[in-house]
């Protein structure tokens, strides 16, 4: 082990760790479902270290996995006996171009750190994830969606160009028009063909303040009518919504009494504004028919971007951050979303949302050009996510229900968003990617010929087994 470590250390500027130097946190991820110990952990200093590590892995017959903030839940961001690249060591802002409205960053920077850098300039990426403590490279490899995706698509759609260290050890600059096949195999490509080392991201100017209207609906179909109107009205900058339980008592489910809930649908449309010209509330809300308007919240825009940070902090303090996270997020056809909710919510015990929540994100399927971010056909789509924190001792009981939620969403025409817990068979992976499966396989063979990058999740390379949960 020491010899191998020293050999790699001799080829890179960043630090290499092995054995007891590997942190327990680096052997799992936010899901706490998979546990694997890497042989070596490299904290790369730059792209040269990444290409050197790839060359080293190929020469030694080792696999190489990338880890950003470790917010994944499947066998992602961990390594079973290979090299783990801890990309957060590459977290610098390289250059901001306020005229071109772009920023160059290293891939290991978190969106939160990037925002802290951009705030004095009044700039921000068009799409931000709810959790800002995830890395640019990490979310680009999934697609990256947020409450502005209905306008701007995915974070991957806001990339001007990226530097990619391919599995064959080349460092290639690519973008939507330059080496597009590589580019679109990396965006939402699950780290299968290359490792992003630098990204040039599009920016927009933000207005200093946001106003959020806390609207509440007691009927999902009426909520969806209004969500569609809000998307089409071009009035709003951000749209966020949820399914929220109000516990009503207990009822028998499979003969055992469990708490059941009446479900409500909070809808939070948000508009950015200059303090000199505050929004016209009446004009903005015209046509919307919530059961209640609960609250109107004015926040500095950068605080709005971080609005969920206190919630996540509470989850951390409460201990649920360390629970099993088997999030099931799907992009649903608009038409079947109410049926899916009707099927799932009545028997969903609200207690599983302690330290979690249920997302409903209205979206436009046509705002994204990503080839590997799979979504149903159609203009109007709904992001649906059941995001529980499950105490480890309940995981065995909860897993069949998690599985049913995933399968139901797919049976009703949805496509899983792959950042959560995904346990597909080979056939289900093929079905997920549909016509993009073969191009994805070909891209893997072309740019990662030895199949060393990020094994254990999507079975593009038959030589590498898909991992099973160990929780």
């Amino acid at each position: 082990m020491t010899a191998l470590k020293n050999e790699l250390q001799g080829k890179v500027a960043g630090s290499v760790r092995a054995g007891a130097e590997v942190s327990p946190a680096e052997t799992t991820n936010f899901g706490h479902l998979f546990h694997s110990t890497p042989r070596l952990v490299l904290e790369p200093r730059g792209a040269d270290d990444v290409t050197a590590a790839i060359g080293f892995a190929r020469a030694k017959g080792l696999t190489l996995a990338t880890r950003g903030a470790g917010h994944s839940q499947s066998h992602v961001g961990i390594s079973d006996g290979g090299i783990l690249l801890s990309m957060v060591s590459m977290g610098r802002v390289l250059r901001v171009d306020p005229d071109a409205l772009t920023v160059d960053v290293e891939a290991g920077i978190t969106w939160g750190d990037l925002l802290r850098h951009l705030e004095p300039l009044g700039l921000a990426p068009p799409v931000l994830t709810n959790n800002l403590n995830v890395t640019v490279g990490g979310t680009l490899s999934i697609a990256g969606i947020g409450v502005a995706s209905f306008r701007h698509g995915t974070q991957g759609d806001q990339v001007v160009e990226i530097d990619v260290a391919t599995g064959s050890g080349d460092l290639v600059t690519c973008g939507p028009e330059r080496e597009p096949d590589l580019f679109w195999s990396v965006i939402a490509g699950l780290g299968q063909v290359g490792i992003v080392t630098r990204a040039r991201l599009r920016l927009r100017r933000v207005k200093p303040m946001t106003r959020t209207y806390y609207l509440l609906y007691d009927d999902v179909r009426r909520f969806m009518e209004d969500a569609r109107q809000a998307m089409d009205s071009n009035r709003w900058d951000h749209l966020e919504s949820w399914a929220s339980p109000s516990p009503q008592g207990t009822k028998p489910v499979n003969g055992r009494r469990q708490v059941f809930a009446r479900w409500f649908y909070p809808f939070h449309p948000t508009v950015e504004f200059d303090p000199q010209s505050p929004p016209d509330d009446r004009a903005l809300l015209d046509g919307l028919r919530p059961s209640e308007q609960l609250y109107v919240d004015d926040l500095p825009t950068y605080e709005f971007f971080a609005r969920l940070t206190p919630v996540f902090d509470l989850w951390k303090r409460g201990g649920t951050w360390e629970h099993v996270h088997a999030w099931t997020e799907s992009v649903m056809p608009w038409e079947t979303t109410p049926d899916l909710l009707d099927a799932i919510l009545p028997d969903l015990p609200p207690s599983i949302l302690v330290g979690g929540h249920i997302l409903l994100w209205p979206a436009k399927g046509t705002t994204s050009r990503s080839r590997l971010f799979m979504r149903p056909a159609g203009e109007d789509l709904m992001g649906f996510g059941v995001l529980p924190a499950i105490p480890p001792q309940f995981w065995a009981d909860a897993k069949p229900m998690v599985d049913v939620v995933s399968r139901l969403s797919i049976a009703m025409g949805g496509k899983r968003y792959l950042s959560g817990f995904v346990e597909f068979t080979d056939a289900e992976w093929r079905e997920h990617f549909g016509p993009m499966w073969e191009p994805f396989v070909q891209a893997k063979r072309r740019w990662d010929p030895d199949g060393i990058l990020n094994p254990g999740f999507v079975p593009l390379d038959a030589r590498r087994a898909v991992a099973q949960p160990t929780a």
């Binding site: 003969g255 009545p346 229900m401």
Partner: protein
């Protein structure tokens, strides 16, 4: 403790119908089942090591009530709106809560004839119905 009733016996059907109609769980979960569509179910228990010959159970179901429960000949029935068919061993797994009915349907292990989407939309009704079936004290045929 109620006496166990042989599976396949007409008295088992009567017991099941009583179980369903006494279940507030089913009545609530299935309040919209069979409203505007034919909610009658035909369960096909396919022969395997523990069931020498196939059995077909027809349930008349609408609005949270069971109006009919009987074993019928043949694998199809004109009054059935949906047919759920699986090897008997899988049914046993479901009734003994080792497998969720929804999982069996969604994985294709249980074959469905009829509008699968309607069945899935009413997943709670299916789940409550299965619980009623599982609640009947049953003497299953021994494995051969």
């Amino acid at each position: 403790m109620r006496d166990r009733i042989p599976f396949g016996d007409p008295s088992w059907c009567a017991a099941l119908q009583s179980e369903i109609n006494a279940s507030s769980e089913y009545r609530n979960a299935a309040a919209k089942w069979g409203v505007g569509f034919n909610g009658n179910l035909l369960f096909g228990f396919e022969a395997d090591a523990s069931l020498p010959a196939p059995l077909h159970l027809l349930l008349g179901l609408a609005e949270g009530r069971c109006t009919r429960a009987e074993f019928v000949p043949g694998s199809k029935h004109p009054e059935a709106g949906f047919t759920l068919r699986a090897p008997f061993a899988l049914w046993r797994e479901i009734l003994e809560r080792r497998t969720l009915a929804a999982t069996a349907i969604l994985t294709g292990k249980m074959k469905v004839e009829g509008d699968k989407l309607t069945l899935l939309k009413h997943a709670g009704a299916s789940r409550a119905l299965i619980h009623c079936v599982a609640s009947v004290p049953t003497e299953f045929p021994p494995a051969r």
